[in-house]
C-alpha cells in the first residue's frame, strides 16, 4: 500500500453550517434560496449545476428552522 495523507473528517452539520452553504449558493448564483427554489420547481434552473444539493439543503433548512421555532427562510 502506498503512503498517503488520507483521513476522514466526519461530523454532524449544524443549522448554521447549512445556512452558510445556502448563502454560498446565493452568492455564487446571484439569487436567494427562495428565488432559486421557486425557479427550480418550474424547471428554470437547469444551468445551476448544484441544484440537487441546493434544493435538498434548502428544504432541510426550512424544515429544521421552522421546527426549531425560527422563521422559515432564508
Amino acid at each position: 500500500m502506498p503512503e498517503t495523507d488520507f483521513y476522514i473528517e466526519e461530523h454532524e452539520m449544524t443549522l448554521e453550517e447549512v445556512k452558510a452553504i445556502l448563502e454560498e449558493f446565493e452568492r455564487r448564483y446571484g439569487m436567494t434560496s427562495q428565488e432559486f427554489y421557486e425557479k427550480w420547481k418550474r424547471g428554470e434552473t437547469e444551468w445551476v449545476s448544484e441544484s440537487v444539493e441546493w434544493s435538498g439543503f434548502f428544504r432541510a433548512y426550512q424544515a429544521r428552522n421552522g421546527q426549531n421555532g425560527g422563521q422559515p427562510k432564508p
Binding site: 488520507f6 466526519e10 424544515a63
Partner: protein, 154 residues
C-alpha cells in the same frame, strides 16, 4: 442495514480508496437530519466543502438524501459530481422531474449541464469504481482517456 451501518459502509469505502492512494488528504463527510426522517433512519450525507480529492487533484462532490426502510437503503436524491483539473466533468443525479424526456429522474451530465442523459441508478461505491477504473488504474484503457483534449461547441 441501519443508517449507522450505512455511515460505516461509506467510511469503509472511502478508506479503501484512501489506502490505495487514489483519494488523498482530508475527506470531509457531513451528516444533517431531514424532517420526516428519524436521525437514526436517514438524512443528508454530504462531502462538498473541500470535496473528495484524488491523487491528481480531481474532485468528487457528493450529496445524498438517504432513508432506511426495512433495512433497505433508499437514496431519495443524490448528486455525484466528478471534475478534473482541466474542467472535464460528469455528474450522476437522481432528482424529481416533471419532464421525464428532457430530464429523467435518474440522469447524468457530461462536460456541460445540458442535456440530462438517462442513466441507471448509481451509488457512491459504483461511482468510485467507475472513476478508479477509467482514470486511475495504470492500464491501457485509462491511458487512452487521461490527457485527451476536447474542443467543442454545442
Amino acid at each position: 442495514m441501519t443508517y449507522a451501518e450505512y455511515k460505516r459502509h461509506i467510511r469503509a469505502i472511502l478508506t479503501n480508496y484512501g489506502r490505495q492512494g487514489i483519494l488523498v488528504g482530508a475527506t470531509p463527510i457531513k451528516f444533517f437530519p431531514v424532517q420526516g426522517i428519524s436521525p437514526n433512519e436517514g438524512g443528508i450525507v454530504s462531502a462538498r466543502d473541500s470535496h473528495l480529492v484524488f491523487q491528481d487533484g480531481a474532485k468528487l462532490k457528493v450529496f445524498e438524501e438517504v432513508r432506511v426502510t426495512d433495512g433497505e437503503i433508499h437514496r431519495l436524491k443524490y448528486s455525484y459530481h466528478y471534475e478534473r483539473l482541466g474542467g472535464y466533468f460528469f455528474r450522476y443525479e437522481r432528482e424529481e422531474s416533471a419532464d421525464l424526456l428532457r430530464k429523467p429522474e435518474y440522469h447524468m451530465h457530461v462536460i456541460v449541464n445540458l442535456p440530462h442523459f438517462n442513466a441507471p441508478p448509481v451509488d457512491l461505491e459504483t461511482i468510485l469504481k467507475l472513476i478508479a477504473a477509467n482514470f486511475y488504474l495504470p492500464d491501457v484503457y485509462a491511458r487512452q482517456i487521461v490527457g485527451q483534449e476536447i474542443h467543442l461547441t454545442v
